[in-house]
Symmetry: C2
């Protein structure tokens, strides 16, 4: 719980140096190796000292994995959670009745270990589809979980699959004179496409937050952040985002009527957006984060469709990998996004370099564009004069390594 805040650039909140999912009061987290992976950590846990108001959003894939069903059952009882247990390497998806039984057993084993009610536990899995969990290993691992030896970094590691790095962030802000902290962690590298969260993320806060306000906040924020990233257009069977608010900061309960609700929303949004961008940047094989900003579309929905079409285009992604300012592919993606617009008023810029104006190419310095595209973060701006719709989407470049990783992931 190091709290050396380093940033003062935001009005409403400060970013905590090395902040993580256990930065908020009353939360702890850890991870260990139980034998699902060859060597790396593969079993993680998050714990709150008290049951926390909780909410979740889940994949829209028809083949929703067993743990998602069990977690939703947990939440239905009181809309509260006290702990989360996650395994990586095996998704427990498309595993039928036995998979469901295993998810219940995994939940019960952890609840029993903690001496709390089953419905205070969320179970989560990520990894290969179709294999059954080796429950002996999972249960033995759960027995070894020691709440008194937490290490949030180990949790962040334990949930990874093809990810190359952990993804954590936390902010703090003042609510009712109390310091409120919001921390989060995420994983996700392939099977990433905007349609519900398409990855895993867990966000914790010690703020007291009204349960229905928390659910609305999670849904709204997810639509602006996790649902605006794409790596490969494949929406996974296992993705979810959970938020836990345990009230340990002792602020007055937050909801939309609280005068500092906007500040809390802004901090929460920062946490979610930061995690979403970390996921996009760590897309399988990626060398760059790509951010597409759309302005002036007829509606927000239109802006989102256009932003996602560009960031999802294999041709745009390949061109960015090749540092080729191929604006034609950007315009082409805009054209097939399914959104009607006047082709004569579009403006496109690659970073600071305007490449299309009033629907027509403008001369630009190819060398400068190539240099810009070598950066680790590439921004694409598309502007219409159709209305007020704006949106931002995030993705990554398409590289040889994406193919390498996915031609050999399972075997």
């Amino acid at each position: 719980m190091t709290k050396a805040t380093v940033s003062t650039e935001h009005q409403d909140y400060k970013v905590i140096h090395d902040g993580n999912v256990a930065s908020a009061k009353g939360f702890s987290a850890g991870g260990l190796h139980c034998g699902l992976k060859y060597k790396n950590l593969d079993l993680g846990w998050i714990y709150s000292e008290v049951p926390a108001n909780a909410a979740g959003v889940y994949t829209t894939n028809v083949f929703q994995a067993a743990p998602l069903q069990v977690t939703q059952e947990s939440l239905k009882v009181e809309n509260k959670l006290q702990s989360i247990v996650v395994n990586s390497a095996i998704a427990n998806a498309v595993t039928g009745k036995q998979g469901l039984d295993n998810a219940y057993e995994m939940r019960h084993a952890f609840a029993d270990h903690l001496s709390i009610a089953d419905h205070y536990v969320a179970v989560v899995s990520t990894g290969v589809i179709g294999d059954q969990l080796p429950m002996d290993k999972v249960k033995k691992g759960i027995q070894e979980i020691a709440l008194e030896q937490p290490k949030a970094d180990h949790f962040a590691q334990a949930i990874l699959t093809t990810d190359t790095c952990t993804k954590q962030v936390a902010v703090e802000l003042d609510i009712d004179g109390e310091t409120v902290t919001i921390g989060g962690v995420a994983k996700g590298s392939g099977m990433i496409h905007p349609n519900m969260a398409t990855m895993l993320s867990f966000i914790t806060t010690d703020a007291a937050v009204d349960q229905s306000a928390l659910m609305e906040l999670l849904k709204g924020t997810t639509n602006e952040t996790f649902n605006m990233i794409t790596v490969d257009g494949d929406t996974s069977t296992n993705d979810m985002v959970l938020v836990l608010a345990n009230g340990q900061a002792k602020n007055n309960k937050l909801n939309a009527d609280h005068p500092q609700w906007p500040a809390f929303v802004s901090g929460f949004h920062y946490v979610a957006e930061t995690l979403a961008k970390k996921i996009a940047r760590d897309g399988e094989g990626a060398t760059k984060l790509v951010e597409v900003q759309v302005k002036g579309a007829a509606t927000e929905v239109a802006a989102k469709e256009i932003a996602k079409a560009i960031v999802g285009s294999n041709l745009v992604k390949s061109a960015i990998y090749g540092t080729d300012a191929n604006w034609g592919r950007i315009v082409c993606a805009v054209g097939y996004s399914g959104v009607p617009f006047s082709a004569t008023n579009i403006k496109v810029a690659i970073g600071p370099i305007v490449v299309v104006e009033e629907g027509l190419p403008v001369p630009f310095n190819e060398e400068a564009a190539k240099n810009y595209l070598m950066k680790e973060t590439v921004q694409i701006f598309v502007e219409f004069q159709e209305g007020e719709g704006t949106a931002t989407a995030w993705g990554c470049d398409l590289t040889y390594d994406y193919v390498r990783i996915n031609a050999s992931y399972r075997t």
Copy 2:
């Protein structure tokens, strides 16, 4: 016009050995180098001795290229075409007023050269977006077109961009005691995604066909063939399919009331499907043709969505490249296709190897599956018990070479 027919496997038509777009009576075609490419042929033409009933389908991309606008204008006048002129290397897309003027000029130059009316000429371009056509080169090339020295192979070469091979086919059948021939040619390697034809194809027949029947036939067939292929999910600005029926076979005019209409439809469908599969197999960087057959879906639309989701999945495509029988990714794609269904009745087979039954994995011989996936054509079968909806989609694997080609195409 070699007509050594080699196949008798089809009831209604025979496949012509080395058949092409000029196999039908009264058609000729050729190609030459006019200087848009460094060395390869880049200007192609098709000519019919008489004006032919014609129909076209065009990309749904909002940025429809200039030549598509001009060709549609040509067709509007009489629904007849006598010739087609195509350049490769430059798409004449997103080129504004000057691009449109150039397309008109290109049409006029060819009409003038042939001494026919402008509206009997279709103009077509494919290549890089945003560059203007160097009209001096194009017009000089058109002047050099010699109808008396046709070579259909040269046409097939002249329309290629990143394609690695030409794509041609023809069939013949008996209608009213007359031999009727249907021939076709296509190009298309990247920016391929089912939404209108997303590539170029030209189909010619010497059959006499009623114009509105021809249009319906083209639309219906395109939806079952060209619109069911995907290489990378990117719908181009320039794609079109044109059909010309010049009546030189002297059959009674065909329409839906003609007793042999079904035979003609079947031959036409074979030509379109063969070209579509050739395009998919030659997808940028592809090493394999992937065919996905869906049966028993609630509706045909549902079957199509599911087939296209599977064949379009980067993860499925990468797994096939890696000869990994990763059925989990197939099931995952089915799950996010947007089509509701019962997850417990799905059956999946990779070639002859059943991998999922009643929604659950079944044990299979991994070695046999790996061997099957090494074939040049990979079939995936997905079966539901929801209704009578069936569909077939075609695509290719995703390889290092796709990335290589597209990271460096423009520059």
